[in-house]
């Protein structure tokens, strides 16, 4: 057998260690990649954005202990959520929106950011929290069927602000009204009292994380009827491009068959 020099032995054993470490690291990476993202998780009030929350929360459970309603839980193996982080299930126990928000000031790591629920006078204001946003399933909600139910509307701590009732004539009977619950996303805190109160077998109004439930129109859409929104484009300048087609009038351009002559649409139909 070939004798291995000391230097070679050292290099080989180091390479082996690095190889093993990479192998272990990759396994670990894939476990974390799959277990650390739960997009449908509801966090305590004043929580940082999920990405920052995950790196900042030290998983001490002080917020959980501080919660007087046992709303908050620390995720353990089997909850299918990032292990050790606080969350709540609104259908089970919603956030009861304590005025003094006991769960937030106890957070030592800043994962629950007191500033985000402090108003301009320097007081804690739970109405500023954005734990999620409620959405309604108009097919399962019996109020949309024309049956009178305003359980969510009444349960909402921001009564007639976060959920409003939209009145509409019921054409089926001709003499009744629909009282449809509609969520105002800017006001809704995501406390989940509506989801908890919903009387349908499976809740027809549920709270989802805002990033999941809310769309985004994009900056390039401007509300022309909104003076404030118009200010965003007050310095914008129109840019005019001239192409072959735009040299003619629009009507000519459309009626002109020259476009088809280049066989742009295949066989020229």
């Amino acid at each position: 057998m070939q004798k291995i020099s000391g230097r070679r032995k050292f290099i080989l054993s180091m390479a082996r260690a690095v190889g093993l470490a990479s192998m272990g690291g990759l396994v670990w990476y894939s476990v974390l990649e799959e277990s650390s993202h739960a997009s449908l998780i509801l966090r305590p009030p004043a929580a940082l954005a999920e990405e920052d929350f995950l790196k900042t929360c030290i998983k001490c459970g002080l917020c959980v202990s501080a919660c007087p309603f046992d709303t908050l839980k620390l995720a353990s193996l089997g909850d299918k959520k990032p292990i050790g982080t606080p969350f709540f299930d609104a259908r089970d126990i919603p956030c009861y929106m304590c005025e003094d928000i006991p769960c937030v000031p106890v957070c030592p790591s800043g994962a629950l950011d007191e500033k985000s629920v402090t108003n301009s006078e320097g007081n804690l204001d739970i109405d500023m929290s954005k734990m999620g946003v409620a959405i309604v399933d108009p097919y399962a909600c019996i109020a949309f069927w024309g049956i009178q139910c305003d359980a969510c509307y009444r349960a909402c701590p921001l009564l007639d602000k976060a959920i409003v009732l939209e009145y509409e004539k019921n054409p089926r009977t001709g003499k009744h009204a629909y009282l449809k619950p509609v969520v105002v996303p800017d006001v809704c805190t995501g406390c989940g009292l509506c989801e908890h109160a919903c009387i349908t077998e499976k809740a027809s109004i549920i709270v989802l994380p805002r990033e999941v439930a809310m769309g985004k129109a994009g900056d390039h859409y401007v509300k022309g009827w909104d003076e404030k929104d118009q200010l965003r484009v007050k310095d914008a300048k129109a840019q005019t491009y001239t192409t072959e087609i735009s040299k003619k009038s629009a009507l000519d351009g459309l009626n002109d068959n020259s476009l088809f002559e280049d066989d742009l649409l295949g066989d020229g139909f």
Partner: protein
Amino acid sequence: MKLKYLLARRVTQVTVLVLYILAHVIGLGVLEGNLSSSLLFGMIPLSDPFAVLQMFVAGSIITFDIALGAAIIAILYGVIGGRMFCSWVCPINMVTDLANWLRRKLGISQVQKRVYMSRSIRYWVIIISLVLSFVMGLTAFELVSPISMLHRGIVFGMGFGFSAVLIIFFFDLLVHENGWCGYVCPLGGFYSVLGKFSLIRVKHNVDNCTECMDCKTVCPEKEVLHMVSKFSATVTMGECTNCARCIEVCNDDALNFSIRKFAEKNNHH
């Protein structure tokens, strides 16, 4: 009393957990939170410095409370206790002690082929956990730590967290003696490095030694007792957990706790 240190360790381990449970259940303000981060007497922050290191590497903004808490713990173990967390506080120690006691009673080491594992695996695990924390922007070890799953589980509810604890129990019982605490656990490795120069140390007096080697049988980190029966010296390796099992098992008063004296060097090797 023969097993006074064992008793003291169990009392400490259980007391810490009981204080956490009382804080969570009845709001007793002595020790709130868990071993990741807690509040002593409602005012002194304590934080796991390895968890904080991962948070820092992950890119989290470390708050003053967290930094202070980590500094207090780091100074406590770094200057005074050494790696005492592992044998005096960590609840996993009770699990692995049971597994290894059972292993000795059943004689599993006698029937089992020796599985080779390097003592330095834990230092590689530290490196991997920091690399993953940096790359993924989360606390890599905290999200999978069986230590956290156990203490968090005992205080806040276990879920399937006990399965992680069972894995460690069977790993130590069936795969490798002291396999988790002595080879794999990065937190143990972290405290080994941190506690390298701490004051409380085990000291060997070779004049009393009868070379029965009971201390090496019972020690979970046998390498630290390399001087036994050879020369008198203070245990200087950071891997020693100051568990005092060697002191208790020694019938000849050849091992005792001492305070490290930096003036007299023990350069016998």
